[in-house]
């Protein structure tokens, strides 16, 4: 059984920032019903139309990313511009525990389903909205994508070399972050409802979520008055606050191969020095303070040694010696060649009716009693209209046919 078998979610969450949250809830057993717009074939979620695709076929039901983010969900279509579509949505909300969405602020309200309306339909409803700036504040009408969230929350800034252009994150890190906080918001609100019987609206702003991931840097400013923007900073690969040295990513033998090494303390340092066996690593580097003072020379020496080493062998030797190290792993190295992750079952395969067998991302949590499942693909557009509208809500099949013809669903 799933931990959330008793929960039903009416879900407008798209992209990764929204869909990623409800994917977890679905894999934990909740009945998550994604509501999409039939008039644009669900295209408000761009994941339905961009790649990757398994072959040359294209279409809203053929996207591998959409499937990845939506496994185990049910899918219905509703045209909320029609009175009948809105009435069906009201009926769906009335039997749901949670409504989730990550539209721009105010969109759901303009569709007629803001929190006050939701509460009228179901007084103890839990409504979790998730957008870049939240529903309050001077920038609430601004719109974001993951990289924008990362830029305005300080995350992009801290990923770079000193006095250089920011390197940034290379992917929508904060789509994952927003999805995680959204899932936490739903679960915390469910507990509150369980204890008090009370529903509520939780208004999540992903830009602030991004800044919660840099709490110590903020305190260094509010307490010590030290700005992150200063000469020589940031240096992403060095320790955040000079607590370790060496602490870097070094070039290994081969084309664009790199190995990360971090010495947590003097024991790690001694182990590294013995492994490298380089007379240049003399007493100049004995203590952390010494190593910090001569960090450029230290990095150069380690880099020279590493550049002659096969990366996996070097990382293995370092770890065996007790020194934290890792190859900067490529997607195939980490996804297909990690026996640990195989044993974990992190990348399960689902059978999709049109795409066939496709791999998806699983969950980095295992539960001893209520573990997750990943055996159902993401929904085709409107795939579960009959199941939800007829079987759950009691619409007559003939009536549903008419509604389909009339463009209601």
């Amino acid at each position: 059984m799933g931990a959330l078998d008793h929960i039903r979610v009416c879900d407008f969450g798209g992209q990764l920032a929204g869909a990623g949250a409800t994917k977890l809830l679905a894999m934990f057993g909740a009945e998550v019903i994604r509501v999409e717009d039939p008039t644009n074939e669900g295209r408000w979620d761009t994941m339905r139309v961009v790649g990757p695709f398994v072959d040359e076929r294209r279409g809203v039901d053929l996207n591998g990313g959409f499937n990845n983010h939506n496994i185990h969900k049910l899918g219905v279509t509703l045209n909320l511009r029609t009175a009948e579509g809105r009435e069906l949505l009201e009926r769906l909300i009335s039997v749901s525990d949670v409504v989730t969405e990550n539209f721009a602020a105010g969109v759901l309200e303009r569709l007629g389903f803001g929190y006050e309306s939701l509460k009228r339909i179901r007084p103890d409803i839990i409504y979790v909205s998730n957008c870049g700036y939240g529903h309050t504040g001077p920038y609430r009408s601004f719109k974001t994508w993951g990289p924008i969230v990362q830029a305005v929350s300080g995350l992009t800034f801290t990923s770079g070399l000193p006095d250089s252009e920011p390197a940034g994150w290379g992917f929508s890190y904060m789509d994952h972050g927003a999805a995680a906080f959204m899932a936490i918001a739903v679960l915390a609100a469910l507990h509150h409802r369980e204890v008090t019987g009370e529903g509520q609206w939780v208004d999540l702003a992903s830009t602030t979520a991004g800044l919660t991931l840099q709490r110590t840097a903020v305190l260094d400013w509010t307490v010590n008055g030290r700005r992150s923007r200063r000469p020589g900073a940031p240096n992403g690969n060095r320790a955040d606050f000079a607590e370790m040295a060496p602490h870097g990513i070094y070039p290994a033998a081969g084309d664009d191969r790199w190995v990360a090494v971090a010495c947590r303390d003097d024991d790690d340092w001694v182990a590294l020095r013995e492994l490298m066996n380089d007379p240049a690593l003399d007493d100049r580097f004995a203590t952390l303070a010494d190593r910090l003072e001569h960090q450029d020379a230290l990095d150069e020496t380690i880099g020279r040694w590493m550049s002659t080493r096969e990366p996996h062998e070097a990382a293995h030797d370092l770890v065996t010696a007790g020194v934290p190290a890792s190859v900067v792993k490529s997607p195939p190295e980490r996804i297909d060649n990690d026996p640990d992750l195989d044993a974990w079952g992190l990348f399960p395969t689902v059978e999709h009716p049109l795409m066939g067998k496709v791999r998806v991302e699983g969950v980095p949590i295992h539960f001893s009693e209520t573990d997750w499942t990943a055996d159902k693909p993401g929904p085709l557009l409107g795939e579960h209209n009959e199941r939800i509208f007829v079987d759950l809500l009691g619409v007559e099949p003939a009536e549903l046919d008419r509604q389909h013809k009339d463009g209601v669903i």
Binding site: A3, P52, F53, G65, T136, G137, S141, K143, P147, A151, V152, G154, T156, F157, A167, G168, G170, F171, H176, A180, I184, A188, A189, H191, H192, E194, T196, Q200, W201, L204, A205, T208, A209, R215, T216, A217, L219, D220, T222, V223, R227, R229, H247, P251, D256, W258, A260, D268, P324, S326, V328, K329, D340, L346, V358, R359, E361, P364, I365, S368
Partner: protein
């Protein structure tokens, strides 16, 4: 009343659990950190108050342990082990970062967890409890490097190393999944009365925090490669990060594609008096006259489409390069084009939007006769507001009250 009022959490505090505890504190849980007699080694982490090291002065500790209570327990002695076991009798959720390393002393899940059927035991470890690598050394840097995020980040010049973003993000990702696991188990317990073991694997968590770079490999066996200031790509893509007039950077986000967007962009150029500087602005008018959105997939097939999108990018870059980064950000958003200024964490913290959301919370430090501003919660719970926490505890500060409470509960239960 907060969302997790009355929820008792015990945390064997270390770098793997501290951020998870923080997430529960702001939702209102009573989080008790268990430290060794001399205090947690996290207290030795810089930066320090006034850069003056001290075990009550670590800002890493302050940031993570704010709002918790501290009890010192020597888990290497039978007495300490008994205290820990008794503490678990009154605990709803245990957060620990050691996995099977707790077993030899009889402090692991098999001994203490299974015997308490309602306990939610959350184990957050670098490679998962049963990994063959469970004993391997790991840090934030090595976990992010082995788990995928670092592969994607850096510069288009690949003679420069891939870059790690700061802030202990591997441990943050582990903490987020730890709390998702804890609260999912809590939902199950609320429904059935039963607790369970929740095994969180930080390496696995990093591996499913790679966005498109993971599913492009899963679906199409395509490897994305790092590029300066934008998404890693299968082939080089056009820059989106711009050097602005004040020497700071901004990101322009996704290029516009709707006819109305091109019209607005043209008008914005005109408003700024920049039309003369962008002869290709005429293509924005052509884009505006189209009846359907421009499809980026047509760039290679249709020269006009390519010219429209190139003009849009050039227009964005021209405007951004002529304005200070923050002004460009606001002006771009106000004109309907999502964009952002690249700001530092402290600059973000002072941003009018963040302040208006009440993100900065005042935490009193009576012992220092000071009040400092801390980052608050990212969400507004309308019925169960997040708490404003008390300062991080001193070493063992709450030992007496926690033990007295424990004895009181025992006495009540025995009666």
């Amino acid at each position: 009343m907060t969302a997790l009022s009355g929820l008792r959490v015990v945390q064997l505090v270390d770098e793997r659990t501290i951020d998870a505890g923080r997430l529960l504190v702001e939702l209102g849980a009573d989080v008790i950190v268990v430290e060794p007699p001399g205090g947690s080694s996290l207290r030795d982490q810089p930066p320090f108050l006034d850069d003056d090291p001290g075990r009550e002065r670590s800002l890493r500790w302050w940031a993570g342990a704010v709002g918790t209570r501290s009890i010192t327990v020597d888990l290497e002695t039978p007495q300490g082990q008994a205290t820990f076991a008794e503490l678990l009798d009154t605990t709803d959720v245990l957060l620990e970062g050691q996995g099977h390393a707790l077993d030899p002393a009889g402090l692991g899940w098999d001994t203490l967890g299974r015997a308490r059927p309602a306990l939610i035991w959350v184990s957050i470890t670098p490679f998962g409890r049963d990994s063959r690598r469970a004993g391997d050394p790991a840090t934030d840097l090595t976990l992010l490097s082995g788990g995928g995020p670092v592969w994607n980040c850096g510069y288009s010049d690949h003679s420069l190393p891939p870059i790690r973003g700061k802030g202990n993000q591997a441990f943050n990702v582990g903490a987020l999944y730890g709390i998702i696991g804890a609260l999912t188990a809590l939902a199950h317990r609320d429904h059935t009365g039963r607790g369970q073991l929740v095994d969180v694997n930080i390496n696995a968590a990093c591996n499913v925090t790679g966005d498109h770079t993971t599913y492009y490999w899963l679906i199409s066996q395509i490897i994305m490669k790092r590029q300066t200031g934008r998404h890693a790509g299968m082939t080089p893509t056009a820059p989106v990060q711009v050097l602005c007039a004040d020497g700071r950077y901004a990101t322009t986000g996704v290029l516009p594609h709707k006819p109305a967007d091109f019209g607005r962009l043209h008008a914005w150029l005109e408003e700024l008096g920049f039309l003369d500087r962008l002869p290709d602005a005429v293509f924005l008018q052509i884009g505006a006259a189209r009846t359907t959105p421009v499809d980026t997939a047509d760039i290679g097939k249709d020269p006009e489409t390519a010219a429209i999108l190139a003009a849009a990018r050039d227009a964005m870059f021209l405007i951004a390069s002529e304005l200070p980064a923050y002004d460009y950000y606001l002006s771009s958003q106000e004109h309907g084009f999502p964009a952002g200024a690249v700001v530092s964490p402290d600059e973000a913290f002072q941003d009018p939007q963040f302040l208006a959301r009440g993100f900065a919370v005042e935490v009193e430090h009576p012992d220092l006769a000071r009040t400092y501003r801390y980052p608050g919660a990212p969400y507004i719970f309308h019925a169960s507001p997040c708490t404003t926490p008390t300062r991080a505890p001193h070493i063992g500060e709450h030992r007496e009250e926690v033990l007295a409470d424990l004895n009181h509960r025992k006495a009540t239960n025995n009666a």
